[in-house]
């Protein structure tokens, strides 16, 4: 299994278990997200602690998940390693597109107190 999905306080926590969120892994990640969204999940925390390499395909799978959500929800990310954090910064996705948290707990608290918009 590449992912571990759990529900915490109304927030779906997705733990990415692979070392690489790259072009090889992105399609699986995206279909996991699409499944969860179709099951009704709207608020997500993606735990990237295990990931030590992420490329533009990994980022693209995140953004396309956002589009599938269609504005009626949120995807936040947490526990980024140094390299992954740098990638979010270089691509400016840390500026408003994704909220970034230090820990799963923080992220879940923040998202569970946000009312879903849709």
């Amino acid at each position: 299994m590449e992912f571990e999905n759990t529900l915490q306080n109304g927030v779906t926590v997705v733990v990415f278990k692979g070392l690489r969120m790259d072009a090889a892994a992105a399609p699986l990640f995206k279909s996991n997200m699409v499944d969860l969204i179709h099951q009704g999940a709207k608020r997500f925390v993606l735990d990237l602690e295990a990931v030590d390499f992420m490329d533009s395909s990994g980022l693209a799978s995140l953004m396309s998940s956002m589009k599938t959500l269609g504005g009626s929800g949120e995807i936040a990310v947490c526990c980024l390693g140094e390299k992954v954090r740098k990638l979010f910064a270089i691509t400016r996705l840390d500026r408003g597109v994704f909220r970034i948290f230090g820990s799963t707990a923080e992220a879940v608290t923040a998202l569970s107190s946000t009312s879903t918009q849709g």
């Binding site: 072009a23 390499f53 490329d55 533009s56 953004m63 589009k67 504005g71 990638l87 691509t91 597109v97």
Partner: protein, 142 residues
Amino acid sequence: MDTIELSIASRLELVHLMGLAVRGICGGLPLTPDESDAMELAVCEAVNNSIKHAYAGRPDGVVRVTLAVDGTGLVLCVYDKGTPLEDRQKLNNDLAVARSIDELPEGGMGLFLIRNAADSVGYKAGEQGNVLVLRKAFRKGS
């Protein structure tokens, strides 16, 4: 120039081996850790592009990478024999700043990350195939 050639079949599951090999080589060059990380990422992006776009996902192609080093810097070339990149303008595309969710790019970040890692990026399509060329000068001491 000291040169090494690396090659894999055009399968996305193999790209990490290329990235790791380039990371290893960069670790022995006078590059900062940030520069090495960026170079590893750039190679993976370039090889992904050859597989996804030039070979359109066909697994029977070959992607070759050559790395040439001298005292002043490195030149990294990524070769494929697939359909060439037609619109050269894409090499210079900047990242769009999305103003709404619908504007969020779902692609187009690869070439930006490649440019971000290198001092200059070139591309050439020819009879023998296509090549993307990255140049990077050494700035760190030694």
